[in-house]
């Protein structure tokens, strides 16, 4: 039996699953409570009796989001080696930053070592400012992590927490690596407090099973790893929703997933049934990061959005003004339209009709309501189209890739959320697609959290000319022979991923995908001097097989 818990802004949902069967569900308010208490309360309700049959607890929480919103982040100092390139002064806007000299180039070759004196001076200054959590990032550390390691070694034992850029992601993009590292360092103590409180609570309930955390990429990691990489637990709400949709209505084709709420609608896309990922990562606290995430777009459009009639069209949202008029609110909302059309049974039918009349006094409420909901789904259609175009326009770098780009062609809509059922026929008509609204969608996020499986990714960069191999996610830097080949690289990376999976306590390793294979001859002076091999491996987000 697996428990899935989704903590949202106002409520937390929990489900108890036996295989894919929903055994129990429960909802609590999260106002004014410690997150760990909310979770413990849910657990008590979900499994009042014997808790020994629990296999795992999967948790999607707003811990990190709350820490960011309430400013409960640790003060962080960043040590950056920017090398030649764009002026890096802008990083100092994010947090106190010290720049190191030295550089590593695009091939991961060390151009010059950083001056240890400067590192010491920076460390002293950070201590003086009361900084106890630091991030160390060098440009191209995904190609060569030596400088990050050197700096960390020099400062060992001097700070409570140290985050290294290359450990967080093997992807390129220095600013994103810097901000991911900053976020990781900033969440360190909050996460560890949460972990202690939760572990205490679990012990109290006699729960001994492993606890996993849901990530933005729709996968999970064990709590122990999340403690080292708390940044991975951000933005798990949207991924819980996507995984929930998958669990409730599995697809094999391209599809559109909609989570329609009170104030926002979240859109995600499936390609051949698998959720689409961001090319780099999610934006957190205004900063772009390398935290792997599902591609979701949120638009300010929901059942409780305020509606105004302006120049012959409806202006819907993005703000909300309390509830619908049917439920005693003061401004017309899409919910009122749904009530008028008999698609939703909440509040007063009469008040809802008043809302429609307030918008268009000369038209019948039914007519206005229909027009309003058509306009509502038209906004969604446009957002979906823009998203598909954006994905199609992602940069490619080979002739083959350019010529064989495929545009996503959705075959179905899966919609969840309060207004989803009421909008089902409107969505189907506007997008010319069948629209499914699965049962139990009100606990989709918790189900999604419960059913998500472990995800892992790792990247490999090998330069046979220099005889060097880097797998940043493992801090691995090895010597290789000049005959090192792509099959060797695949084997090495597969081994690395299997090892990570085993370390996370999983007995069997799901299928590993290889991505972005690139093999390039290095030619110097009209002769081949070596090869550059790059490769990524991942366990893609998916559902646990039952």
């Amino acid at each position: 039996m697996i428990i899935g818990i989704d903590v949202g802004g106002t409520h937390a949902d929990g489900v108890l699953l036996d295989g894919d069967t929903l055994v129990a569900k429960h909802k609590v308010s999260v106002a004014q409570q410690h997150l760990s208490d909310v979770i413990i309360t849910l657990l008590q309700h979900l499994v009042p009796g014997d808790r020994s049959t629990l296999q795992r607890i999967h948790l999607s929480s707003t811990l990190c989001t709350n820490a960011i919103v309430t400013g409960a982040l640790d003060p962080v100092g960043m040590l950056l080696q920017a090398g030649p390139g764009m002026n890096p002064d802008f990083f100092a806007k994010s947090c106190p930053t010290w720049f190191l000299d030295g550089a590593i180039d695009h091939r991961g070759q060390i151009l010059r070592d950083p001056d240890p004196g400067k590192i010491d001076a920076a460390a002293l200054a950070m201590r003086r400012e009361g900084i106890n959590s630091i991030g160390i990032v060098t440009k191209f550390s995904h190609r060569n992590n030596r400088h990050e390691q050197q700096v960390a070694a020099q400062l060992v034992g001097r700070f409570a927490h140290v985050s290294l850029g290359h450990r967080i992601s093997g992807l390129p993009n220095f600013p994103r690596r810097v901000y991911s590292t900053w976020l990781n360092a900033a969440l360190a103590s909050q996460f560890s407090l949460f972990k202690n409180a939760l572990e205490e609570g679990l012990a109290h309930l006699g729960i001994t099973c492993p606890c996993h955390v849901l990530k933005a990429d729709g996968g999970t990691i064990p709590f122990s790893r999340a403690c080292e990489f708390p940044c991975e637990s951000v933005h798990s709400g949207p991924s819980a929703s996507v995984m929930g949709c998958l669990a409730l209505a599995a697809q094999t084709d391209d599809a559109i997933l909609l989570d329609i709420g009170g104030t926002t609608t979240d859109i995600a896309l499936l390609v051949d049934g698998a959720p689409l990922l961001e090319p780099y990562g999610v934006n957190v606290a205004g900063r772009p990061t390398l935290i792997r995430a599902l591609k979701t777009t949120s638009i300010g459009l929901g059942g409780d959005s305020r509606v105004a009639w302006h120049n012959g069209t409806f202006r819907i949202g993005p703000e909300r003004q309390g509830t619908s008029m049917a439920e005693g609110g003061t401004a017309p909302t899409p919910t009122d339209a749904m009530v008028v059309l008999g698609k939703l049974a909440v509040g007063s039918q009469q008040q809802a009709a008043m809302a429609m009349l307030a918008l268009c006094p000369k038209e019948s409420p039914e007519y206005t309501a229909t027009l309003l909901l058509e306009s509502f789904v038209e906004h969604i259609r446009l957002a979906v189209e823009a998203m598909i175009e954006e994905v199609f326009a992602r940069p490619v770098y080979t002739v083959a890739a350019l010529l064989h780009r495929r545009r996503i062609q959705p075959k179905r809509i899966v919609a969840i959320g309060g207004p989803a059922a009421a909008l089902q026929s409107f969505l189907g008509q506007a997008l010319f697609l069948p629209c499914t609204v699965p049962a139990n969608y009100e606990v989709a996020n918790a189900i999604g959290a419960a059913r998500a499986r472990l995800t892992v990714q790792a990247s490999l960069y090998a330069d046979t000319g220099d005889g060097r191999l880097s797998i940043p996610e493992l801090s691995c830097l090895e010597t290789i022979s000049s005959r090192y080949s792509m099959p060797d690289a695949e084997k090495r990376l597969k081994g690395a991923v299997s090892m990570m999976v085993a370390e996370m306590g999983m007995k069997s390793c799901p299928e590993i995908d290889f991505l972005e294979r690139l093999e390039m001859n290095v030619v110097r002076g009209f002769a081949t001097s070596g090869k550059i091999l790059t490769l990524k491996a991942q366990i893609r987000p998916g559902l646990t097989t039952i």
């Binding site: 764009m86 695009h106 600013p175 080979t398 350019l402 690139l518 290095v522």
Partner: protein, 438 residues
Amino acid sequence: MSSFMPHALHKTALILFPAFDWCISPNHPEREERLLYTRDQLIEEGLEDVENILFFNPELATFHDINRVHLSVPSAEKLLTESHLISAGGTLRAARAVMEKEAEKAFAIVRPPGHHAMQTVFGDRGFCVINIEAIMVEYIRRHYGVRKIAIVDTDCHHGDGTQDIFYNDPDTLFISLHQDGRTLYPGSGFLHESGGPAAEGYTINLPLPPNTCDEGFDMVMERVVMPILDEFEPELIINSAGQDNHYTDPITNMNFTAQGYARLNRLLNPDICVLEGGYSIEGALPYTNLGIILAMAGMDFSQVREPDYDPSRFTQPPEMTKYIEALCSKALGVFAGRGSRRAEAQQRRIVTNQKNIFYDTTGFHVQERTSYHLCPKCPGYSEIKATGHNRHIHAYTVPFNACRGCQGEAKDMFQKGKPESGTIIALQDRIEDIYETK
């Protein structure tokens, strides 16, 4: 995107397409690896997240776009691969970004390059088959009605193809800065090559001595290029941004730096840049391309330096500076005297030039005779006869700025021409935008 990322003062579109699966041959300078390190540097810098810098994929140019500019033998379809259409399509995407105001500026970082491709095309010359800038220029004229365009070619090699295509067009100012043709391929680009009979003074060549440093380039830009541009008042400035003037380039002998390239672009302030040559793929291109992008975008490029950059290493000897000074005055003289012999040429009605074009990649020669049919109202049309590889073409080209009379005359000539085997008879009419052969 956020206040935590820098933002570009000028909205700049990048069409970055390194074509990792295409080469002329595996060990050729124009091979898969050429833009690998540039791509890696630009991505690691985080340019994709800089506010106001946009990345676009190239589109594919059509054969129609190619035939608007080139006379291909036996045909564009037979000579070109998809890679060429993508490289040209990259420049068209750049043009569209600027002309449709998706961005203020655009840089097509694409390969293969194009500035050695002349109007007639029999194969690959100097790594180029089709002239991607020229295709872009005529595309812009066709679709956006732009007339006066300046092309400043800062590749180390003389842009002989671009010069050839616009040689008799007074609405295209072509300025080429390059290593002296006596010391480098293609061996042309001297001051006296100053334009056809209707466009004399609108081709300006600046053959610089080997080992010219930043100082020399700065001087030429300040004393010649900028004043001439100010006077010509182009509607659009294009930089053929070859990067083989760099001090580490393996096939040239100049001493230009990434800082120099960035400064040049800040001064030139081009609307569109198109990558041309540049074969120091590891030590120069990542830095020169980044420098050019930051300069175009109006961002700080002061920290873009090659790993082995040492400003004291390159100081220009005073004699060289004097030589370049003298070159600057002569070049200004060429532009000042523009159009002075036009009336005299017009009296002759037809002016004919002969040339021998060498195709270095496979090694064959093309004999070409161009007759400019001059007109008092317009630059006139040209008649081109070229022979190479036992194939012949006899073509009539009506430029976009020709008058109705010249257009009709060229059409008549084409219609009168008798088809014969082994000879393509062609009409390239840029007013009607048609390309016909028989």
